[in-house]
């Protein structure tokens, strides 16, 4: 993580006089114009122009119309479901992810490699497959549902089901951000704490956990950001009842299907702004994190 971040964010040497770097870079290695030109063109056509279209479309609305679209009771309820379940899922993934990373890095046990590889499953498994599988498990007759329902715990077709799906989707993020930091953690720190008389638990709480904090925060934010936009795994298990278990991405699709383009686009703009803010937050934490690991 640190190498990747450092290299992507360090402003790489103060640029010498412009004329000089042009001479050094552009003339010796070929392909600068071609590759950058193609990359920018492709980026603009596939990503930037279409995204800009969303904002332009919304700009055609008056402020009152926009506000009406993004603050109707049904929409507000969908925000509550989406952000609430995403927050709960990302928060649950924090302790579980840290424990999983700790176990994978520190304890040798049979099957460790398999477990390590399995952590990537939510990245690789198509969301629709995860959705129907989780629904089958937690439905009334499912493997787990048949035991949970008599206890009064309904999972499928309730907000709890959404939480389960989003926990699955976000599972790898905390593990994969914490793991490399844990691998590179200097054992001297823990030895010093032990020498100074700290018990193991004190060392874990006062030395190890603070060192992992930025990575944990990044992992949490990534899991949360992913969960907020998630659609495929949620629609099957949520039951999609307006006001109760309807997530915002689904509401966007519903509005599109009713040809309410303005409403769908206004909601999309809200989601995009939230996503961009989260992206910014993640980048800021990572910058903080790189600076800390350097000092």
């Amino acid at each position: 993580m640190s190498t990747a971040l450092a290299s992507s964010q360090a402003p790489s040497r103060p640029p010498a006089a412009p004329s000089r770097w042009r001479a050094v870079n552009r003339r010796v290695l070929p392909g600068f114009g071609l590759t950058l030109g193609f990359a920018l063109l492709y980026l603009s056509v596939i990503i930037l122009l279409p995204l800009a279209a969303t904002f332009v479309k919304t700009a055609g609305l008056t402020w009152a119309e926009f506000w009406g679209h993004v603050s109707s009771p049904r929409v507000i309820a969908s925000y509550r479901v989406t952000f609430g379940a995403s927050l709960a899922a990302a928060a649950f993934n924090v302790p579980c992810g840290v424990i999983l990373a700790w176990v994978l890095v520190r304890y040798p046990f049979p099957g460790r490699r398999v477990m390590d590889a399995l952590v990537d499953l939510p990245f690789a498994l198509p969301t629709a497959v995860a959705g129907i599988s989780l629904t089958a498990i937690y439905a009334k007759t499912g493997w787990l549902g048949q035991w949970l329902e008599p206890l009064g715990i309904k999972v499928a077709y309730t907000p709890v089901g959404i939480w389960v799906a989003l926990t699955f989707i976000g599972l790898p993020f905390v593990v994969r951000t914490v793991q490399p930091i844990l691998e590179e953690l200097e054992p001297e720190l823990e030895e010093a704490a032990a020498t100074l008389g700290a018990t193991r638990l004190q060392t874990l709480r006062r030395v190890v956990l603070p060192a992992l904090a930025p990575a944990i925060l990044t992992g949490f934010a990534l899991a949360f950001a992913r969960a907020v936009g998630e659609y495929g795994s949620v629609v099957f298990i949520s039951g999609n009842m307006p006001m109760r278990t309807e997530i915002t991405p689904l509401l966007i699709i519903t509005k599109l299907e009713q040809y309410d383009y303005a409403g769908a686009t206004a909601l999309a703009v809200v989601m995009l702004v939230v996503s961009f803010l989260l992206l910014l937050l993640i980048q800021l934490t990572q910058r903080w994190f790189t600076r800390r690991s350097r000092s």
């Binding site: 993580m1 392909g31 596939i46 969303t54 690789a124 498990i137 638990l201 383009y261 992206l279």
Partner: protein, 301 residues
């Protein structure tokens, strides 16, 4: 990496002093939680797919896979992936070359923008193309006049797939190529090699594992994408349904066994992807190190 890992296990060795070792109760508790979590959230859903798929026997399993609509869906998914993966591969290589080998203003902004599709909900990735090419979209009327269909047709599906898989290859290559610098390329040029030759003989061999890694992840996402494709597909059976959309239709029609049978194909693809990914990480740790550490950001969508 291997070095630091062995130091760590060394620390945890039983004869080391008390304060350095996790107490036994803690160790077993943490192992218990980790196993429980993985079992509940990963192993059970994975197993359920295959159990449900084979519930009515192998015969019906294969019937579900060879039925005409399923075959059409498989064909469309392969088509969409075979267009979007190469496109994003070429983009990834071009972007990584420009970013890693040259200095130019706005570079860090460009890197952030490449990550953007991961921050956008798949539903919105589909929506943006509907706004451009849909019947009520910007270019909708013009397209209709000329009888060109993009939305609710194959081009829309390809576009949406390209959008959601956009950063995969670039994100793997950029950190690795930045770490490698350009000394080897400069040496090759000094020795008289041309630009293309330098790229094929020097740059490509240096990044091939990271490239392969990026491609398999890109492919897995391309074949499994649901939300974005769902918005632009129109769900026309046998025509604009990809495998994940076909799974959805079967499931909603209560053909549960058939839905899981088709879903098991995608699950196998996911398993193959994970195995290949792990193999590359173990065998070629060094050459994909920079890339592997950036994987997490890959999936932040």
């Amino acid at each position: 990496m291997a070095g630091s890992a062995s130091t760590l296990t060394h620390v945890a060795r039983p004869h080391s002093r008390r304060g350095l070792e996790d107490p036994r109760w803690l160790k077993y508790t943490l192992l218990g939680i980790a196993f429980g979590f993985v079992l509940l959230f990963l192993v059970v859903p994975l197993t359920a797919v295959f159990v449900e798929a084979l519930r009515k026997g192998l015969g019906l399993y294969f019937t579900a896979l060879t039925e005409a609509d399923a075959v059409a869906a498989i064909r469309l998914t392969l088509l969409a992936a075979s267009i979007s993966v190469p496109l994003n591969l070429v983009f990834g290589v071009a972007a990584a070359w420009a970013i890693a080998k040259f200095e130019f203003p706005g570079k860090s902004v460009l890197i952030t923008l490449i990550d953007l599709p991961f921050a956008v909900s798949p539903v919105i990735a589909g929506l943006v193309y509907v706004l451009l090419f849909g019947a009520q979209g910007w270019w909708g009327p013009w397209l209709m006049e000329h009888d060109i269909r993009i939305i609710f047709a194959v081009p829309g599906i390809v576009l949406a797939t390209v959008f959601v898989t956009f950063p995969f290859v670039a994100r793997e290559l950029i950190p690795l190529m930045q770490a490698q610098g350009k000394d080897e390329e400069l040496a090759a040029l000094t020795l008289g090699a041309g630009g293309w030759r330098t790229f094929w003989k020097v740059t490509l061999p240096n990044v091939k594992w990271a490239l392969f890694y990026g491609v398999i992840l890109c492919n897995a996402r391309a074949m499994g994408e649901f939300g974005a494709v769902s918005v632009v597909s129109g769900h026309i059976r046998g025509e604009t349904n990809t495998i994940p959309l076909h799974v959805e239709i079967l499931y909603n029609e209560y053909q549960t066994q058939a839905a899981f049978a088709v879903a098991s194909l995608l699950t196998l693809l996911a398993l193959v992807t994970i195995v290949l990914k792990s193999l590359i990480e173990w065998r070629h740790r060094k050459s994909v190190e920079a890339a592997a550490t950036a994987t997490t950001r890959q999936f932040a969508s």
